[in-house]
């Protein structure tokens, strides 16, 4: 008993101090940084009289962005870019998961295709964009293809890695239970590879947006990428910044949806645990 007392009394005063430190949520830090950044930007532009053509003040950008939200054309272009991104991502998922699963299951097939995969990996795929425009025209198709091609690789490679990474012990459990081929896929390989597939999807969805926007830069007359080019050509830098902001918001929404899938689809996985 006499031993317990000093231990308790030394711990007791420390605890509230520790708690108070923890109680500041990290998002306050993030917001503070953002405010400091925007404030610094605003201050710099005003103090040094930077031309609006080079760098508009954040207040102007936000104002322009807010105004653009009431224009139907903004939402039309947003819809086009979103559609290209979603379609491209969809095809990347279908082909990426299918081919990735096959590569993961067949080491022979993987060995055979490996030189080609490496070759296509090292090609800067954005350099192929003009080619796709030539092949698929100035419409939405070429952008969908670009978005799909860019998102395809991380999805395929991560799926293959996921299927290869299935734990041996789990395989033996199913082997000792005489599971069928299909059961091995549905009960083990798919759930086991799902965290990897989701990682591939997180990388892929960002690349899909990049693909769609780069495609729009180069050809056609629709989409937020095209809108950005138009604003640039008319030297409306403030509007250009507003489009960039809008694109970032769109990208954020897509990314948040895919990241949200993680909590929803693999609540059991370490990566989906809520960290305090």
């Amino acid at each position: 008993m006499s031993l317990d007392t000093p231990i308790v009394s030394t711990v007791a005063p420390q605890q509230p101090a520790k708690k108070r430190k923890k109680e500041i949520p990290t998002w306050i830090g993030s917001v503070t940084l953002l405010v400091l950044f925007l404030g610094g930007w605003e201050f710099y532009v005003r103090e040094f009289n930077v031309s609006k053509l080079i760098l508009p003040a954040p207040s102007l950008v936000i104002e322009a962005w807010y105004a653009s939200l009431w224009l139907p054309s903004t939402w039309y272009h947003t819809w086009i870019t979103a559609l290209e991104t979603m379609l491209g991502f969809f095809f990347a998922m279908v082909f990426g998961v299918a081919l990735g699963a096959m590569l993961g299951k067949s080491p022979r097939l993987e060995k055979m295709l490996n030189p080609f995969i490496v070759a296509t990996q090292v090609v800067p795929k954005v350099a192929l964009v003009p080619l796709f425009v030539v092949w698929f025209g100035f419409g939405i198709t070429s952008k969908v293809v670009i978005a799909a091609v860019l998102a395809f690789f991380p999805i395929m490679l991560n799926t293959a890695l996921g299927v290869k990474s299935v734990e041996r012990g789990y395989r033996e459990v199913l082997a000792s239970l005489n599971a069928s081929r299909l059961q091995k896929i549905t009960q083990l390989e798919f759930p086991s590879a799902l965290p990897y597939i989701l990682t591939g999807m997180e990388m892929g969805v960002v690349l899909s947006i990049i693909g769609a926007v780069v495609g729009e830069y180069l050809g056609g007359s629709e989409g937020l990428g095209n809108l950005a080019v138009k604003e640039m050509n008319s030297y409306n830098t403030t509007a250009l910044f507003a489009v960039i902001m809008h694109l970032s918001a769109l990208g954020f929404v897509f990314y948040a949806i895919v990241v949200g899938l993680r909590r929803f689809l693999i609540p059991w996985h370490e990566s989906a645990q809520v960290k305090k």
Partner: protein, 270 residues
């Protein structure tokens, strides 16, 4: 080697598993490695058999061949009189008589404990309500009632291993095969698990073959101990353990326990 009285589990003294000149050579980069020399050995129905031996003597190999995870390179293995391996293809009827417990619990992290336990039933097309029911009974049997809806990562190592035993028992196989199931547990938990395993064995009247390299675990659990020696792996001696059931942990203070343990230690050391 006094003759022991029949334990609760014994059904009729029939032969559950028969190894007939069963042996295993592995092909490696350095040529053939003989993991198990052709061996004759019978496991009696309802009996608790322990395979004991130092590391690398072929215990796991022997158990994996019985479990249908590895084909023998010579001889045959019969389970309930059925040839398990015919031309390197295993007989799935014979396989269904056995449940395997691995050293790692190997519970699927994406399934709740009850879904893990009932996984073999799911593979067999048993309805969901029936699986629930069975999982609940098994949780009670292995002593993890209340954890049905939890995920494996929320359980301690000992509890996970209990769940994996429940999984192996879910489809009511006649034979339970266990490869160092408690090897990763601390000594105290291990003693507790041994007591539990003895109880489960007595309640379910299974035939159990358990692999270990712990002498005291072997003597505590076994009706018969098959002592293996390495290079090349072979059965060196079979030792009967006569203590009455249920055995308490304190049985290890019995002079005869010490005697058997010392004998095994001598044989293992030279």
């Amino acid at each position: 080697m006094s003759l022991q009285t029949a334990p609760a589990g014994v059904q009729g003294g029939g032969i559950a598993i028969a190894l007939k000149e069963a042996g295993k050579d592995f092909e490696t980069a350095e040529g053939l490695v003989r993991a198990l020399t052709p061996t004759n050995f019978n496991v009696r129905e309802g009996e608790f058999t322990v395979l004991l031996g130092p590391s690398g003597c072929g215990k796991t190999t022997m158990l994996r061949m019985i479990a249908g995870l590895e084909a023998p390179t010579s001889g045959t293995i019969e389970v309930d009189g059925r040839n398990l391996w015919i031309a390197d293809k295993r007989d799935n009827v014979a396989l269904a008589d056995m449940g395997m417990v691995f050293q790692e619990a190997n519970l699927f992290p994406w399934l709740s404990i009850e879904d893990n336990i009932a996984l073999p039933l799911k593979l067999r097309g048993v309805s969901k309500s029936e699986r629930r029911q069975r999982a609940r009974e098994l949780c009670k049997l292995v002593g993890i009632t209340g954890f049905e809806k939890r995920y494996p990562r929320e359980l301690s190592g000992g509890m996970r291993q209990r769940a994996s035993i429940a999984r192996a028992l879910s489809y009511d196989p006649k034979i339970l095969l266990m490869d160092e199931p408690f090897g990763a547990l601390d000594a105290i938990t291990r003693d507790a698990m041994n007591i539990e395993l003895q109880r489960i064995w007595m309640e379910t009247s299974k035939t159990i073959v358990l692999v270990t390299h712990s002498i005291s675990e072997a003597v505590f659990l076994a009706d018969r101990i098959a002592l293996l020696s390495p290079r090349p792996g072979r059965i060196q001696e079979i030792v009967e353990v006569p203590f009455a059931r249920p055995r308490a942990v304190s049985v290890n203070e019995d002079p005869q326990f010490q005697h058997i343990a010392n004998h095994l230690r001598d044989r293992l050391e030279h």
